[in-house]
Every structure is written in C-alpha cells, then in structure tokens.
C-alpha cells in the first residue's frame, strides 16, 4: 500500500463561491501525481471531515476567501478531533490576514497559504507532511 498515491480533499466551505484558487490547487496536486477529490462549493465542516474519513484521505486543503476563516477552520479542526481523525494533514489558504494565520496555526491548522504562494511550495508541503503521516499511520 505504501506506493498508493497520496489522496487529498480540496474543499470549499460556507457560502464562499471563489473557487479559482481551489481549482488551481486541485489541478496542481493532481498533476503532481496525487489523487484529488474536489468537494465542490458550500460544504459544511462536518461534510468535509466526513468526506475525508470516507475517502481515507491523507490531507484536507480548505480554501476560504469570504472572511469566514476564523469560524470555519476551527470547526474543521474540532470535527477532526471529535472523529479521532486529527492525524489528517489539514491546511488551507485564501484571503487571510497574517495575524489570523498565526492564530489558526495555533488552533491546529498545519499551514496557511496566502495569495501568491508558489504552487511548488504547496505541492512540496503536501508531499512532505502527508508522507510523514503515511509513515506514522501506514
């Protein structure tokens, strides 16, 4: 199973319809050899975590550009903990001010990528962190 490609959920939560970034990331991760499941728009944190568990995903990337990040990111981390699935690498991106990035990282979000982050950096992060998780969880 070790050679099974990494499986990543790219998610959009809340009422935010800005899906350009999510789609570009989904495509870039797929082109880098990962299996990508894009949830589509308007998912609840509960639905996102359910999808990740059902799909046996290695990581969740959540994109929020509507300003609701301080509510929706923590709801996902809470759900992951509640479901005993907080080994899943949870990262995100969007229109997120620097101070909020720090707060979200403290709350269990592994990394936040803001506009302008190179795709190569995001791919490298996902491969590294999800790879580490594979070693641990198998």
């Amino acid at each position: 199973m070790a050679n099974r490609p990494l499986r990543i959920i790219v998610a959009k939560a809340g009422l935010d319809g800005h899906d350009r970034g999510a789609k570009v990331i989904a495509r870039a991760l797929r082109d880098a050899g990962m299996e990508v499941i894009y949830t589509g728009l308007f998912q609840t944190p509960e639905q996102i975590v359910q999808t990740a568990i059902q799909e046996d995903a290695d990581g969740i990337g959540l994109s929020i550009l509507s300003g609701a990040h301080m509510t929706l990111f923590p709801l996902v981390t809470e759900q992951l903990k509640a479901q005993g699935a907080d080994d899943i690498v949870f990262f995100g991106g969007g229109t997120i001010p620097p101070d909020d990035t720090e707060a979200l990282k403290k709350a269990g979000v592994r990394e936040i990528f803001t506009p302008g982050a190179p795709l190569s950096e995001i791919i490298e992060f996902v491969q590294r962190e999800c790879g580490k998780r594979r070693e641990k969880v198998g």
Binding site: L15, D16, A22, R27, L119
Partner: protein, 570 residues
Amino acid sequence: MAKMIDRPSGLGAQPTPEFEEQKRTWEQASAAGKPRTGAGSGAVDRTISDVPLKTVYGPEDVAQLDLARDLAWPGQYPYTRGIHPNGYRDRLWTMRQFAGFGNAKQTNERYHFLLSQGQMGLSVAFDMPTLMGYDSDAAQARGEVGKCGVAIDSLADMEVLFDGIDMGAITTSMTINGPAAIALAQYVAAAEKKGISRKLLGGTVQADILKEYIAQKEWIFPPRPHMRIIVDMIEFCTNEMPKWNTISISGYHIREAGSTAAQELAFTLADGFAYVEACMKAGMDVDSFAPRLSYFFNSHIDFFEEIAKFRAARRIYARHMREKYGAKDPKSWQLRFHTQTAGCSATAQQPENNIVRVAFEAMAAALGGTQSLHTNSMDEVLALPTEKSVEIALRTQQVLAFETNVTNVVDPLGGSYYVEALTDEMERQAEAYFAQIEEYGGVVEAIEAGFFQKEIAEASYRYQRSIETKDRVIVGVNAFQKEENLAGIELLRITEEVERAQARSVQEVRAHRDQSAVAAKLARLQQACRDPKDNVMPHLIECVNAYCTEGEIVDSMVEVFGRYVERSVF
C-alpha cells in the same frame, strides 16, 4: 461630376517604395537583435491572455480596417471610439467605490465619508448570507455575517443603509444577483418610505445571473426560473423606473475567476445577448429595454489588451444590437460600462505595490472610455479595505482625472496600429466564442454542459503555470521578493459581535410585525412564481413592505423554483 480622387478607406495607406525599403532594413536589424533572457522574458511575445504579439505593428496590420465601417467618430456607430462625441470633456466618469461591511449603520457611515471626499455615486457590497439569500441568524450564515459586505436582512436594514442620503439625487449600484429582485424591492420601498418616487431612482442592480453559474457562483435557483425573474425585473423597471439601469451584465467576475480578456469579453456579451433574446421572446420591443442595459468589465494589468477589449466590446455590441436584433434606437446600440481594477492582479506581498497596479489599470479604463470606475484598495487582498486605503484608491482616480490630461482627447489611442490590430483580434476571438456557444444551443445550455467553467479553469491554470515558470514576473511574488513581516499591519476587522447583534436584530424585526400580513404576502408571491404570466416584482415590494426577511422570501421562492446544484469541474 468629376471623378473622386481615390483615397484609401482604411488606416493602411499604400506604402511607398521608400517605406518598403525602410521596413526591410528594420526586419534585418530586428532579426539581429538579441532577445533578453531571465525572469519575465518567456512571455514577451504574447499578452497576459496569450494573444501572440509582433515586435512592432504597422500599416499592413490595419489594412483590413475600414474607417467608416469600423471606427467612425466618437459618438457614432459602431462606437469603437466611444459613445460620447466629446468623451470626458463633457462628463468625467463616475467615481464609484464599492463599499459595504458589518451592519447597515457602519456601512452608512462609510458612505457618508466617501461622499464627503468627492465620491459621485454609491455602490453596495453585500455580505455572503445576503448574496446567497440567507438571514443573518441562519445556520448557513455562521462566520460570514458582515464579513465581505454589509448584512441586509430586511427593509429595516435598507432604511438604515440610506439614512441621511438623498436617494432621489444619488445613483446607487447594488452588486447582488441571486436575490437581486428582492434588493431592488427593498431599495424602492426604502425610497418610497422617504417620499421619493420610484420614477426618480437612478442606479443599477447587477442581477446578472448567467455569470454566476459561469464564474462567481452566487446563485439560488436553477438558470431557467432565474431568467424568468430577470425578465420580470427588466419589464417592471422599463415600465415603472425610467431612470434605472435594469441590469449590469458583468465580465468582472469571469475575469477574476481566471478567464482571458477575450473570454471575459465574449462570455459577457454572450450573456447580454441572452438577456436581450429572453426579453424579446417575452414580447418586449428591443428598443423599449435595451437603452437601459449596462455592462461591467475588469481592468487587468495588460495595459493595451484591456484598452483593446473595451473598444472591441463597444463595436461588437453595436453591431449585434443593430444587425442581429434589429434595434433602431442608437441608445440600444451603445454599450455603457462600469470598470473595476483587477482584484486578482493585487498581491499580498508588498501590498503597497498594489497602489501602482491600480493606477495603471485605472488609466487603461479611462483610455478605454469607461462610464464609471472603482479603484481597488491596496489591502483588499488581505481584508476589507481601511478608510485610509480607500481614500488613496479614490485619490488615484482624482489624479488620473484631473492631473494626467488623458481625459482631454477622446480615444487617444484610436489609430494606433497596435491598438487597432488588437481591437480587431479581440473582436475575432469573441466571434469565434459566440459560434461555439451557438453550437451548444445557447448560453444556458453551454452552462449546463460546463463549457464556460472548463474554459476558465484551463485559462487560469495556464496563467498560474506561467508564473511558476517565471515566464511572467509578478513583482514581490516570483521576483524582487523581500522578507516582510505583515503581522500587525492595520486591517479592517469585523467582530463576531456584529454577527450576534445582526442575528438579534433580524429576530426583533420578525417579532414586531403583522404576522398575518407576512403570511398572506408570501403566499401571494408564491402564486405569482407559479404563474409565468404574472410579474413577481410588485409582489416582492409588497413582501418587503410587510418586513418579510430576505431569507423568508427566498425560502418561499425556492419552494416553487428549487435550488441549483453545480456539477463541479476542475
């Protein structure tokens, strides 16, 4: 009568042997040149939209142009050179900054500030729950209230939003689509409560639902019932609100979603034509409604491509409206548009650089002949703008309008070999897209097939790749980076208390109203929704006046029309 002297009908005058010789010399010199290498050198031969570019343009590139047919003079069909004979000499563009955050009271204060600083019109930004048809206390609204716009749940909020503002004198643009008809009903009701007749109201409500399915994704109902509501709205405004621009057909969001300039142009005009066809099919005379349609474009960072896009938009529109739809009134041929600088060109890195980008983009809009303009604030890539950064954005427009003198001559780039050739190329690419859309059976069918969504996703990925490879340089992002600590940068913050207070406020509204009137008005509205011959607008105004909330009205309509679910592609 003496034989007329033969004169070329186009810009491409017959070259003399001397000129031909000069050209050959230039070609040799050019071929001997050494192209620069390094960052940003990979894309010198194409626009940001991948339109191939020559090193220089000359008469042969515009030889096909016919001066009378393709250019004419400003204020003349096909309006390539602008819709006004004197351009900005008679009237500058309207400086209209898009604003809204928190609750109606906070936003009302921002409006008073902007008006006191010389802004000429208002533009309302609503928050996500309002845009999607949910009240502030709905489960779907959690974390979103007041965040990227103002929360408007009922007429009560709309009254506060325009407190102390003369709605009979100011023009207002409301950027809302799914629930556009409800927002318009609230605006009419708020004005009439102040004793201002709907006949006096000027402005526009975006109400362009087709581009929601294509790009912005703020829909409620499926496309067909949504189209019916828009036709109802256009008909209502045509009969009752003579000064209102009924709908603002928007390419802005298509571009922000990652499209090319030609896609923005083609998809937007295709949407516009779809509304024209829907209204004509409903039995309206094209000249009764077309003069009040307006458009909204993006101004991106590729300076000349944008100017060409604006010029091409006017020409294509005029041709289709006159030739294809048989409009007789010149006002029906004239494409009037608002422009906003490209949010997607702004960077989170070294955000002050965005001031410069905005200035260039704003100048492209002015040289393209825009009727109104929003300049983005430098910090919008991080959060909603602060008052200071909004002021800089507005001042940028004022410097452009009053100091640079680009407003003194109409269409100053008309006749430029390059700009004319690029204008032609934009038109050609747009026509090719129209043919493709036609093959699907129309815009709605192409949406259902995911055509636009796929085209945009492709273009946006291609663009991103060109930044990754450094074929294109974005200053501060993939070149000229510096270590910076943005923590502590002053940003506008919307507190969670705003959400709690707004939720309480809509509950107050629901508690203090005539409940039997609410039930009766909503039932009557549903009846109108079921009867395609009825017009929903008067019933919406009745609902709004009974203080039905937006969420209640939308829920009643969803019972009849259903909710749209997208098939996602990436």
